[in-house]
């Protein structure tokens, strides 16, 4: 029996868990291909207009997979850690899919909810095997194998990064589903690498730093990605020399609800201190690659020049004298 997993949204974090879980139980996994133009078009056709780009792309992946599999795996991530939520669109993802795409195969829609004090993992596991007729004991074992795989995956990402050495570093803030999907972001990471930059993302920064700086907010940030983004952003601003970054790029998709708050907060902090270059790149299904390239090139050139001889030049309205 074949289980289809769409390559979108939180696939980039939790795929090792899903893969190990279902393969241990003896199912075959069909993964949709990397996002391309036709998948994006399918998504735009089926999804409601107001949704953001990653959600539209996810719809496209489901549309691509639906005839090729017996079951479709669409997880609902209500909460990824204690006391926090994800974006409401991720909380209601299965409903969005079921009601906008017709002729779906049977949908597996487990609810991953770590919000409350009493977490019920057993319920999630039961939901993961609900239509499959599997022994729960076997499933539990497979699930914990999967969790182990996630830990290994995370460590690998973290370690790989810390072995690299580049003189020029750049902080790129973004949700994982726009950051790692190279079609959506038009290969931004590769482009920056080719320009000689080492890209630091939210996954490369230690949790302790993220939590320390996110804790400086006047109110507890109740989105998991929001906490990571704002924590890394404020860390980048405050300890710029220590990390050695030259600038911050904030990559967000059009009409993203979380980014409208977080990017604005970070931008205001930077404007007050005036110590680091910052750019916000906004992408949607109409974004042209040439425009994006121009902006990145202009930004990187500006950073380099600032380092060489622009550092003593006054910006508008500021005193030229520098002690």
């Amino acid at each position: 029996m074949k289980i289809g997993i769409p390559r979108g949204l939180l696939y980039y974090y939790y795929f090792p868990l899903w893969k190990t879980f279902y393969e241990n139980l003896g199912f075959k996994i069909i993964l949709s291909p990397e996002t391309n133009k036709s998948i994006l078009d399918l998504g735009v056709k089926t999804c409601v207009d107001e949704a953001c780009l990653p959600v539209k792309v996810f719809h496209g992946h489901v549309e691509y997979l639906k005839d090729k599999v017996d079951f479709l795996f669409i997880p609902r991530h209500t909460s990824l850690s204690y006391g926090e939520f994800t974006c409401p669109k991720l909380c209601g993802l299965p409903e969005m899919i079921i009601n906008s795409i017709t002729k779906l195969p049977k949908v597996i829609k487990p609810d991953f909810n770590l919000h409350g004090k009493n977490i019920n993992i057993d319920k999630t596991i039961k939901e993961m095997i609900e239509p499959l007729n599997i022994n729960i004991k076997q499933a539990r074992l497979a699930f914990f194998n999967g969790l182990e795989q996630i830990r290994i995956h995370k460590e690998k990402v973290f370690k790989e990064f810390h072995f690299k050495y580049h003189s020029k570093r750049l902080l790129v803030l973004s949700h994982p589903y726009t950051l790692y999907d190279s079609f959506i972001n038009m290969n931004l990471l590769k482009k920056l690498e080719n320009m000689g930059y080492l890209v630091i993302t939210i996954d490369n920064i230690e949790d302790i730093k993220i939590n320390y700086y996110a804790g400086k907010l006047p109110k507890k940030m109740f989105w998991t990605f929001g906490r990571q983004l704002i924590g890394s952003g404020l860390y980048g601003i405050a300890e710029k020399e220590k990390i050695g970054i030259d600038g911050i790029i904030y990559l967000s998709s059009f009409a993203c609800g979380l980014d409208s708050i977080i990017a604005d907060y970070i931008e205001r902090q930077i404007r007050r201190r005036n110590n680091i270059p910052f750019i916000q790149l906004i992408i949607d299904e109409h974004t042209g690659e040439a425009g994006l390239n121009t902006r990145i090139e202009a930004f990187t050139e500006m950073m380099e020049r600032r380092k060489l001889y622009d550092s003593n030049f006054s910006s508008y309205g500021k005193c030229i004298y520098r002690s």
């Binding site: 974006c87 909380c91 409903e95 009601n99 109110k219 609800g257 409208s260 708050i261 907060y265």
Partner: protein, 361 residues
């Protein structure tokens, strides 16, 4: 300390009763207008939802009239509203206004802090007195809500078009001038007396339309271009799913005791969405199904552009439409929405359901 607060439908009536009863100086922002929205959208971030932009406009207009403290409620849900207080503070700070914010919420479940904040805002430590005034304010809001509802019902059936509109205008002008609960209740009573004089066409069976969607766009008449009045003017009976009075009693009285008045709504929503995903998506779906079951002729959903929970609701609504075969329209509102295009769509929708009803006969 002179306090102010953002506009949202009849909230200002309650705030007036509450604060004037406790002897706190209060500035009621001028009714939201194009200028309010213009100020707000100039200074706030681009992609934030439209309620925040109007809030900022309200604050600035109040600050110019002398306010120095802003009162706002908070939340911990996955919706953006929880961060309004923080972001608004940042925006006003960047604009150079030194304003204090008092956010009514229990940070991380700390109820003591919430009570301290209420005491600070009301300048009294006497909880009994505060509670008494809150009950009075709540009653005032519910009465005002009921008056509005009855006005709309009569407006849909009136013989001489425009008579209720005149009454409403007089009432709205008066309500800003009255002081204290007693005068307000008198005014509402007088308005009711006036309303009984309006002639009603008893043969006219109005179409019934249910309004669902995000709470701010439903309740604040400026941002939804007075949709209820427009529909009533077209001879349609409108039922709005959320009233601020009901919402307050649900969240202040029922929810803390673990009860809910919305059992029927949740049951109706169950086949489509069986949990809260933040904002009012659950209520939107529930009321949509509920209206369909109770024989309404059409449903209109209102949402501000980019509202995350309502986008989920929007993608579920076509299924409800198909299941019950009842027309459904979604109107997205932001600072660029034009009045005329909006009215055209409303008129076309009403015409369409009218023809549908005739065909059914």
């Amino acid at each position: 300390m002179i306090v102010t607060f953002p506009h949202m439908g009849n909230v200002y009536i309650g705030a007036k009763v509450l604060m004037e009863g406790l002897g706190v100086d209060i500035v009621i922002p001028p009714p939201s207008s194009d200028k309010t929205l213009e100020i707000g959208s100039t200074y706030s971030t681009e992609f934030i939802c439209v309620p925040l932009k109007i809030n900022i406009g309200n604050y600035i207009e109040s600050i110019k009239k002398g306010a120095d403290t802003v009162l706002i409620t908070g939340s911990n849900g996955p919706c953006r509203f929880g961060f309004y207080g923080v972001i608004e503070q940042e925006i006003l700070r960047d604009m150079g206004y030194d304003v204090e914010f008092i956010i009514f919420e229990a940070p991380e479940g700390d109820v003591g802090e919430l009570i301290r904040r209420i005491q600070k805002a009301t300048k009294t430590r006497n909880i009994g007195r505060i509670a008494k005034q809150i009950i009075k304010a709540q009653r005032a809001i519910i009465t005002a809500d009921r008056l509005e509802r009855d006005m709309l019902n009569i407006e849909a059936r009136e013989v001489k078009k425009g008579s209720i509109r005149m009454l409403r205008k007089i009432y709205k002008d008066e309500v800003e001038k009255v002081k204290g609960e007693k005068e307000l209740m008198n005014l509402i009573k007088n308005t009711y007396n006036e309303m009984t004089k309006v002639q009603i066409n008893k043969d006219h069976i109005p179409l019934k339309i249910g309004l669902i969607g995000e709470i701010y766009t439903l309740i604040e008449p400026y941002i939804n271009f007075h949709v209820e009045e427009k529909l009533a003017n077209l001879g349609v009976e409108v039922h709005r799913s959320l009233y601020i009075g009901d919402w307050l009693s649900e969240h202040l009285v029922y929810r803390p005791m673990g009860l809910t008045k919305e059992v029927k709504i949740r049951k109706a929503a169950k086949p489509y969405l069986d949990r809260c995903i933040g904002g009012h998506a659950w209520e939107t779906i529930g009321y949509a199904a509920h209206y369909c079951q109770s024989g309404y002729d059409g449903i209109i959903q209102l949402l501000p552009f980019g509202c995350m929970p309502e986008i989920v609701a929007e993608s579920i609504l076509p299924t409800i439409q198909r299941d019950y075969n009842i027309p459904l329209m979604t109107l997205v509102l932001d600072e660029l929405t034009g009045d005329t295009g909006y009215l055209t769509r409303l008129e076309a929708f009403v015409d369409m359901i009218e023809r549908k009803r005739e065909r059914r006969k």
